[in-house]
């Protein structure tokens, strides 16, 4: 079974490219149309899906391009959400300024965590980010005066002007959708650029990439920063669309990180549709099942994640009907390669 590698994805050629473009356009059209056909409750739910999708797009930048895992993106989400919330509660700054500041603070946090990621990779990075993510609620609780701690913080929500053609829920939805589309476009451009190629090279084989002149430290910090910034923006948008955040809000706890990762895996790496699909499943599945029991929903969620990892490693958007019917041949036993020469290996 061949693993879809980072260097072959996302670059469909010829007919496939046109197909992908058509699918993307249809999806965008559907996204634009959604608020016109659903009741406010649903639109609010879809808004939340878009927020999660945006957070996942941020994570995708890191994981999809460089193959590194972060279990701490809930903290970046939290930095964005709390920056916006605290700024708006304590200053007269208009909302766009608060959002920009929240994104910038998230980027800064990303750069700080990205700095050790120059040397800390793979499992170690997963651990560092996990601890970072797990500590975030504690951090919030340490500054209860500012953040409201477990009691939470009310944030002024986006509300349209009197004569605006859309209702409040629709307006919020479109604001988030704009952010999602702009970010998706940026990521797409990045993917097509020289920097994008360098990033993927770095993810595939750092030593080879560096040999070909890729500036690994700059790229690593850069991608971590950008990834954190996008997720922080999602957090900020969550604050101004949801109107309330607390240290118990699941998106800012480790559960948030897990949800983002799960959505990423379920959706696959397609730049726009992957995170959307993953976020939709991650949000709707528990909500649907959750009427019975939220725990059952989580179980299903975990099982779905594992099954997708086992059966469809490229995520749902990585499934292509053409591969379903191709015979794969039997799985072979692990290759017994003889041990490398032992010279010096025990020093």
């Amino acid at each position: 079974m061949s693993e879809p590698t980072r260097s072959t994805r996302l670059r469909p050629s010829g007919r496939r490219a046109i197909g992908a473009a058509v699918v993307n356009l249809i999806v965008i059209a559907a996204l634009v149309a959604i608020p016109l056909f659903f009741e406010p409750f649903r639109v609010t739910q879809f808004t939340q899906i878009l927020v999660v999708a945006l957070a996942v797009m941020g994570l995708n930048l890191l994981t999809g391009f460089t193959g590194q895992i972060s279990v701490g993106h809930s903290a970046f989400f939290g930095f964005g959400a709390y920056s916006v919330g605290v700024i708006m509660a304590n200053t007269d700054a208009p909302m766009p300024v608060a959002l920009a500041a929240g994104t910038a603070i998230g980027a800064l946090a990303g750069a700080v965590i990205g700095l050790p990621s120059l040397r800390i990779k793979d499992t170690s990075l997963a651990i560092v980010t996990l601890v970072f993510g797990a500590s975030f609620p504690a951090l919030v609780n340490m500054f209860t005066g500012l953040t409201g701690g477990t009691q939470g913080l009310r944030v002024e929500r986006i509300s349209p002007a009197e004569d605006f053609p859309f209702a409040a829920d629709q307006t919020r939805y479109y604001v988030v959708l704009c952010a999602v589309l702009v970010v998706a476009a940026c990521v797409l451009l990045l993917d097509r650029s020289r920097t994008g190629r360098e990033l993927r090279a770095l993810g595939d084989n750092e030593i080879a990439a560096v040999t070909f002149g890729v500036n690994a430290p700059r790229l690593r910090i850069g991608v971590f920063t950008a990834s954190a910034a996008i997720t922080a923006l999602a957090g900020g948008l969550f604050a101004v669309t949801n109107g309330f955040i607390s240290s118990g809000t699941s998106f800012v706890t480790i559960l948030g990180s897990i949800e983002f990762l799960t959505a990423l895996v379920i959706g696959g790496r397609a730049i726009l549709i992957g995170p959307l699909l993953g976020a939709a499943i991650a949000q709707l599945l528990p909500a649907q099942l959750g009427q019975e029991s939220p725990e059952l929903a989580h179980l299903v969620y975990g099982v779905v994640l594992i099954v997708i990892l086992l059966l469809a490693p490229g995520g749902l958007t990585g499934l292509r009907p053409s591969t379903w019917f191709r015979s794969r041949g039997p799985e072979l036993p692990p290759l017994p390669t003889t041990a490398p020469p032992t010279k010096g290996s025990t020093a």
Binding site: T123, S124, A134, H298
Partner: protein, 293 residues
């Protein structure tokens, strides 16, 4: 005197961190994988112990049953879910353990419910005072129990044939196949042992005043991960030392640094982990490894 008291308390906590860290290390040695679900597995084991005890079985006996069941469960999970991914990218494997985390947590919520329940103590109540430092029997018992487990494990690895095979597989899987060791079976055994160790860790935790409930091991997992990072992913000694260090550091930090309390102790572990990884990425007791291809 306060310092000594904190030290004693820290060592008690550290023993638990060391126990789970040891489980993580055994798992990593067998399959090269940090099992992020190790803490949740331990929670399930503690829940099983609580359920058995509630049905009238003595607590030590319940713990024994839970250890056996955990061993079987861990081995089965490795066989069904982890084994098929061993040749896949590391990212996929890590995500599998995160999937297991979600599942194990949900199973705990569903079967056991969210209400915290106390577990019968393993050790007698009370304690004694030593030059002004209060030491409870619980704490002594927990530390002794971990010491016993660690000794047994060390003897298993160093003195038995299976233990030798396990070490062979951990360091040289290809050569192990050549001499005819069933590497896949060793992987299963490794996961089984790890889950059994986790059971002891989880039940021990309840003896330090923690109730059995679905998220009881989350902070322990964080500190244990810090411990293995400090000690090196493959070093049993490192796990023990790292665990005790984290227990002591956490206890000191939360008691002495104003404003830092409860879960905020995790921030300390973040600082410690990052510092260690930057200075010595393979951990203090870890050996520099040739990159896995």
């Amino acid at each position: 005197m306060l310092i000594m008291q904190l030290l004693v308390d820290g060592v008690g906590k550290g023993a638990i961190y060391a126990a789970l860290a040891l489980a993580i290390v055994v798992c990593h040695r067998s399959t090269g994988l940090i099992n992020f679900a190790q803490g949740e597995f331990a929670t399930l084991s503690a829940m099983l112990t609580a359920v058995l005890t509630a049905s009238g079985i003595p607590v030590w006996f319940s713990l024994g049953i839970a250890v056996v069941v955990s061993f079987i469960g861990g081995a089965l999970i490795q066989f069904v879910v982890v084994r098929p991914t061993l040749k896949r990218p590391h990212l996929v494997q890590i995500m599998i353990t995160i999937g297991l985390y979600i599942c194990a947590n949900a199973v705990g919520q569903i079967v056991f419910g969210p209400t915290p329940r106390p577990l019968d103590p393993l050790f007698p109540a009370g304690g004694f005072s030593l030059v002004g430092i209060r030491i409870s029997w619980d704490l002594v018992g927990v530390v002794l129990l971990q010491a016993l487990v660690i000794t047994a494990l060390t003897l298993f690895f160093s003195r038995t044939k299976a233990g030798l095979g396990f070490r062979a597989v951990a360091t040289a899987p290809a050569a192990s196949r050549v001499v005819g060791i069933r590497v896949e079976r060793m992987h299963m055994v490794g996961w089984g042992i790890a889950a059994a160790l986790g059971a002891v860790a989880g039940v021990s935790l309840t003896n330090l005043g923690v109730y059995v409930e679905p998220s009881m091991m989350t902070p322990v997992l964080v500190f244990s991960l810090a411990a293995v990072t400090i000690g090196g992913f493959d070093s049993a000694i490192g796990a023990i030392v790292g665990g005790v260090v984290m227990g002591v550091v956490e206890t000191f930090a939360t008691s002495l640094i104003p404003g830092l309390s409860g879960d905020a102790g995790m921030l300390v572990s973040l600082v410690v982990i990052v510092a260690i990884l930057l200075v010595r990425p393979q951990g203090i007791f870890g050996r520099e490894r040739v990159a896995r291809v």
